[in-house]
Symmetry: D2
């Protein structure tokens, strides 16, 4: 298929590359043009302006936050205006439920096609096309884009006709991971200070009740205290917890653990560690307990 | 093997029965004698006094809390005194790290053999011999008792020579489950108030990052709002969170999520729901969010 | 002095009336015109449009939230454009630090005079001219408006040339009161369930370490369980905790107690009690503890 | 009056001295005898054994914690047995509600007279006889001891015939102070990072809503960042929060702010600051926010 791709951060680059590998024709645009060269070497076309990528089968946007998406789609990027009515806009960024609602309204009013398809997975998963994709929007549009989603993900979950539902599910998923990191972190501090081997503990739980990828990946990172390189930073996690709490506030749902997470991530950022991996929540637990890193 | 078994609560009954099924000779004792009859029908012998079950290959104790274990072993039950030096005492109750330390000292001083082997799993798992067993103590004693542990569990993790390590691991495991329940509960309240189908959400997470038994079992319970019959009560969970916080206090480890759990479980108990399943933590989240049960 | 007054909620009405009593000429404007009649009976002039009150010695705005202030000053109310360069705009609303920063920039750019002067105190204090006023902005402008501030408050604290400092101080003050309410509420639930007389307890603390107006007023309300009529609602308190947390987020300051307050107030709102007094935080504590109101 | 005094810590020494100044005959006992010399210089008699101070008008015990009190009164100190039936035992230590209940029962069973009279106030207040005393027990006994209480305190609050009520009130009072410290600490971190003068902020709140001794004393300490010398340590505050939470647990009262305090104090202790003043809760807030001490 013919696809435009805007946003070449860690995740975006990897995702665009899997599209190329799967044989799709990809035209990329990135605000900072330096990032486009690597993709061009892999066969991507480079666009000079956002409006140049709005006329294929689909346009994928994968940007860092609400402000970037809003500016690109509704503001200075003029995507909404430039979008061909036959081009499906697949918004894969992690954004607020409220912005997704505004995007849904704006696309509908302009007779443009909007699919929300945020993803679960770290950059490694993006590079190998092993993401989980949470899709919502008009069924025919999702069906039409399926070859693209299949190239990027190991599995696509179709959720709802209403696009914001996918964004909520993504945020809820990130909250569950973050709360797992916090609980693991608190536990591992206790385990270490009690003189028990943290690797043995991870071994036990991931071979009994918590035999899940998330526990295995992060349990090992925390037991090893090998948090680098960052796959998803504390700053981004803080941004997502803000979005979770905003969605919870809008629907009047108290989420005490989300508040704890927000406070801890904010402490991490305040202490200069915003650029490190969010699994360092465990290191913050260790530090509060007076433990020093190995 | 020849084994004594003290404590016929939900878990204990089921465990004793799996021993009988596996062909072991089991003599049971329970303070309330009414519970012994059902086991006798399955082939168990009944003992009149605790001291009568202290002379086989092993003695298993599976009691409700620290007070019960302390009284049985060191107090009015006189187990420690009555125990044959060749009979391995396998303590499978969920008890505090501090009591396990005292038991270790007392057994050593009296030249008796003490193995700590608390379990992870609900009564259904106990009934089908599918528990996970966390064992710590003298290696030869654990090896000797292996046929018994194999009858009761699907897997035995041998942790350490020091018995209290197993008790800590068990408490840490329960903390991880409880914090998962809390996080799921907060998330599902958000999901429901946002108009997303909670079953669909559980479906997604348990088929992506959290493909683990604990998430599947409890995610379904919470989405269905079918919390009965209780497998593990809020009161018992509160007891365990107290023990987690006590171990954390003794080693100076702040555990904010454990504190949140303690407060919520205490609220459940205060509101008359201590006898219900701990997965009702999710119902407490729903209620705080103004949702009413279906 | 000649003063315009926009915003006739509970607080605004009472404040405008103290200005009239002190002999100032007051012209009022309120979006809902029904509220103006009572003030007219006390001698106020009524303006048809916001722009009609922008030409005296000062213009006071006392609106409910950021959205209302932003719309009135920078949006559909056109206050900034209509404001006479010699008319001091005194913004007494409780607004975010971020909006106050935007207002400061906008006024400066337009060569208009902006003083931030939010207040501490309940409607009764407003009615009797006993508010505490936290003022920040250009010193000459504050000095010029002193007769107005004196009419409304028992004391004016001049804080800084930078207006947002006053808004921050106001929010911080409200946080301190809210956290006192939460702590008192938790304590009083404990006191009641322990069989101690709550009035006696309030009597003791307010005659020893906490001999302060806030503890006396609210301690009595909570001991009496007489929360009505509301002086400041849970919904408004929730709004303010959001603003506190937003200011804390912007400066990277974790505030765990503010998070607890936000969660509890959100629960109050979710349970249909947003319109009741924020001292009902104590009732939420009592309810969590299984107590029923007298 | 003729009074025995056991326990010469910071508080006890100061209290015994005010009794001497008021003309009472005081006989002191302390486990570590080195502390008795200073009191002897001021006119106190020194006792060799605890039982030697059990025969005057009253015996005051002022010990560090539950374990010390239990051992002194019911254990190796043999106070209960040695106490003359006409000697009133005034227990001024901060102890658990549960221990006070056991002491009440034990004294009653032995026909001995027990008054609980814990105090509010720092060592400076103890030195100048300016403590607040919370007394509970048999009315005639409290009346009889009034001259002693008057020498040590500026005010005696008589609460109840049931002694544990006084211990609960004392713990509740300490919780209120600790939660004030936490709220002030969080606020001051926000104030400092927002560029507002912390002294000015303390000045405002203590001259408006919070014109109370506790806010003045601690607000100034926190604004000055002059936490030394410690008047009441983090370790002791942690002990008291444990007792508050234990009383709350026993009566099923969730106290989320008490949990936050426990976690923060535990972090302070874990990080090696248990011996410093509990007002350093504010420094922990500052540190979490990335601020460094001046």
């Amino acid at each position: 298929m013919d696809v435009g791709f805007i946003g070449l951060g860690h995740m975006g680059q990897a995702m665009a590359r899997t599209l190329l590998k799967a044989g799709h024709r990809v035209t990329v645009y990135n605000r900072t043009h330096s990032k486009e060269a690597a993709l061009a070497a892999d066969g991507a076309n480079i666009a000079a302006r956002p409006s140049d990528v709005c006329h294929g089968d689909a346009l994928i946007t994968m940007l860092s936050d609400d402000a970037a998406v809003e500016d690109m789609v509704l503001g200075s990027g003029h995507i909404l205006a430039a979008l061909d009515p036959n081009t499906v806009h697949i918004s894969m960024s992690t954004i607020s439920v409220a912005l997704s609602e505004r995007l849904a309204e704006a696309h509908e009013k302009a007779d443009k096609v909007y699919v929300a398809a945020p993803v679960l997975g770290r950059p490694e998963a993006a590079a190998s096309g092993q993401l989980f994709i949470l899709a919502a929007g008009p069924s025919p549009a999702i069906a039409f884009c399926q070859p693209l989603l299949e190239a990027m993900g190991q599995k696509t979950f179709v959720l709802d006709e209403r696009q914001p539902v996918a964004n909520l599910a993504k945020l809820a998923g990130n909250f569950l991971i973050a709360s797992m990191l916090e609980s693991l972190g608190e536990t591992m501090a206790l385990v270490r200070k009690s003189g028990m081997d943290p690797h043995r503990f991870v071994d036990i739980i991931t071979n009994s009740l918590f035999a899940a990828p998330a526990y295995k990946t992060y349990g090992t990172i925390i037991a090893d205290e090998k948090y680098d390189p960052p796959g998803f930073t504390m700053s981004l996690a803080l941004k997502d917890m803000r979005l979770v709490l905003a969605a919870a506030d809008a629907t009047a749902v108290p989420m005490p653990v989300a508040s704890v997470l927000r406070d801890h991530l904010l402490a991490g950022v305040a202490q200069g560690e915003g650029h490190t991996d969010w699994s360092r929540l465990a290191q913050l637990s260790a530090r509060r307990a007076g433990l020093t890193p190995h």
